[in-house]
């Protein structure tokens, strides 16, 4: 089995008539995902590549979606997430970047009270080859396998997934948490899912500077995780106080350095790569 998404995942795309929304709706379809509905206020009744478009999520619920792909502009993400949650959607993926973090905080807090899961914002989503892709990862880099991947990055994730695939391994599920200081799911949440997943035999954890999520994950791995983990941490050369592209990638007041993360992970018995290309061989070692 995969985690978070599977063949029963029925995707709705909020903001389906936008450039990102329509492009990715079609890419998800091509991957094999069930994209069952889209929303775009005022464009109800139209279609995008055979996907019915509705004015509101409430109307779109006729098509029985259970996951949403949110691709509306940053100022409208909070509203879109509330609309989805209050209409009964259980898995919320937010593609949008530059969402004010207090909005994300409200979404995440509300989701936990309502028992919903949130992936993102500002991440590439969740992909399980080849049952379902909820997100924007490139379709052609995957191979079905037994490695779970968790990452805060986008392109770096693709690089590493591609390395795994081209070196003869494959992925169970790839989870992109998103590069913001506050995101829905974090490493521990994803590790907890992988813990229960039969298909996953090892996990590759891609981290970056900023915050202490990797350190907390290391604690979790040490005490409560049951599968081998390998890791790559990026941002070793980043100066303090500067945001490195991602809103969350910043060393502030001495916290969030790559050194601290690498040390915590190594202390937890995780093999940490110096370069991305080392990940496949580390995986092969732990999977022996």
């Amino acid at each position: 089995m995969s985690i978070l998404v599977n063949e029963d995942t029925r995707i709705m795309v909020q903001g389906i008539t936008g450039h990102q929304g329509s492009f990715n709706a079609i890419q998800m379809q091509k991957f094999g995902s069930k994209v069952v509905a889209g929303t775009s206020p005022g464009k109800g009744g139209s279609e995008v590549n055979g996907i019915k478009v509705f004015n509101t999520v409430k109307e779109a619920m006729k098509e029985d979606p259970n996951a949403t792909f949110i691709s509306v502009a940053a100022p409208y993400v909070l509203d879109a997430a509330k609309e989805a949650m209050y209409s009964g959607i259980d898995l919320i993926y937010i593609l949008t970047e530059k969402v004010p973090y207090q909005d994300t905080m409200k979404i995440v807090s509300l989701a936990s009270k309502l028992g919903k899961k949130v992936v993102g914002p500002n991440g590439p989503g969740v992909t399980s080859p080849f049952t379902c892709k909820l997100g924007i990862m490139p379709n052609q880099i995957f191979k079905k396998g037994n490695v779970g991947v968790i990452s805060r990055s986008g392109t770096l994730t693709y690089e590493i997934v591609n390395l795994i695939t081209t070196n003869g391994l494959g992925e169970s599920t790839v989870v992109g948490l998103g590069g913001d200081p506050v995101t829905g799911m974090n490493y521990i949440d994803a590790l907890e899912e992988f813990k229960k997943d039969d298909q996953t035999d090892a996990v590759a954890m891609v981290g970056e500077i900023g915050g202490t999520a990797e350190e907390e994950a290391a604690e979790y791995i040490k005490d409560r995780f049951n599968k081998p983990v390998v890791s790559y941490i990026t941002g070793r050369s980043a100066p303090p106080g500067k945001r490195m592209g991602h809103a969350g990638a910043i060393i502030s007041r001495g916290k969030g350095t790559a050194e601290s993360k690498v040390k915590a992970l190594e202390d937890a018995g995780v093999s940490v790569a110096s370069y991305p290309y080392e990940i496949p061989s580390l995986l092969k070692e732990v999977l022996k």
Binding site: A74, P75, K98, V99, P100, Y101, Q102, M105, K106, V108, S109, L110, K113, I136, M137, P138, Q140, I141, R152, S153, G154, T155, L156, T157, Y158, E159, N162, G179, P181, V182, V206, E208, I209, G210, G211, T212, A213, E216, Y232, T234, G235, R236, S237, A238, P239, K242, R243, M244, G245, H246, A247, G248, A249, R253, G254, A258, S274, Y275, P276, Y277
Partner: protein, 366 residues
Amino acid sequence: MNLYEYQAKELFKKFGISIPVGKHVATEADLQWNKFPVVVKAQVLTGGRGKAGGIKFANDIGDLQAKGKEILAMSIKGLKVRSLLLEEKLEIAKEYYLSITLDRSTKRPVIIASTSGGMEIEDVEDSKIVKYWIDPTLGYSSFIGREVSFKLGLSTEESKQFQDVLGKIFALYEGYDCELVEINPLVVLKDGKILAGDAKVVVDSDSLFRHKELFENPAERTELEELAFKRGYALVELGGDIGVIANGAGLTMATLDGLTLKGLKPKNFLDLGGSDDVEKVVGAFQILKEAKIRGILINIFGGVTHCDTVANGIAEAKKRVGINVPIVVRLSGVNEDLGRQILKENGIESYSDMMDAINETVKVVK
């Protein structure tokens, strides 16, 4: 976005938080005041201005004008002092600390308070710090202020004022999408009145669409960063001499890390982001042309960004921008073969593997 102390205090005033009597002064001609002594404070977006001589007391108008001119002429940690805040000298009895910021681990705002104020909170021992995490769905409620102030052991009169300030800075924190609101020191005057001695406010830049009255303080960026910002690029200047263009924040950082591990010093972080646009690539080169560098490494893993688009951009840049340092290109992923072909036709060698490209960069810049 960091606010200057005077801007932060304007927001404090708006939210009803007591601040010292003060005046913001941008020119020498405005160096007027009528109640001495007066404090003259450099307005710069960096800590440690006191130690750097950016805070002085003046005892009369002549003194004020001399010291004001002196500070206005200073630079602190490389940042030019552009204006001053003149403030009444306070009769300080005690200095406390109070802030609200994001705790990334719990995904909640955290109140941090201490009766040991006036120094960096990182230097205060844990036992003297009170923390309270706020549920974002619930928001602030008076009991939170009571809990914090009883834990601090404040007197009844102090507690009342402290709770009032706390409620108001939370309103500011929420109302202006702040990353940080910090009062250090929170001053207890000899007459018992509590007011904000200093004020630090950091606003989430991503929230500025709903705070149109605030505008970005440019001093936070270097010239090269300002240029890139204006043109819509995410660039961070690092101080080395190897230009870097990549796509995705993580991959860009990984590229910088790779070069650094090989002993090179990158000049910059520059992320093309999730675009697929020839002109975006050309524009990146136009920015790097302004930087003093010995070579450029382009590292692309094609997804949303197609390799052929990047290749066309590089070829265009070669023609139009006129870069006269070596360029090393790595292209992998979507339309890789086509991209490599385009580059070849334009006389540019390229690599499929990231490590090969990093190693080649080491070679060509030596």
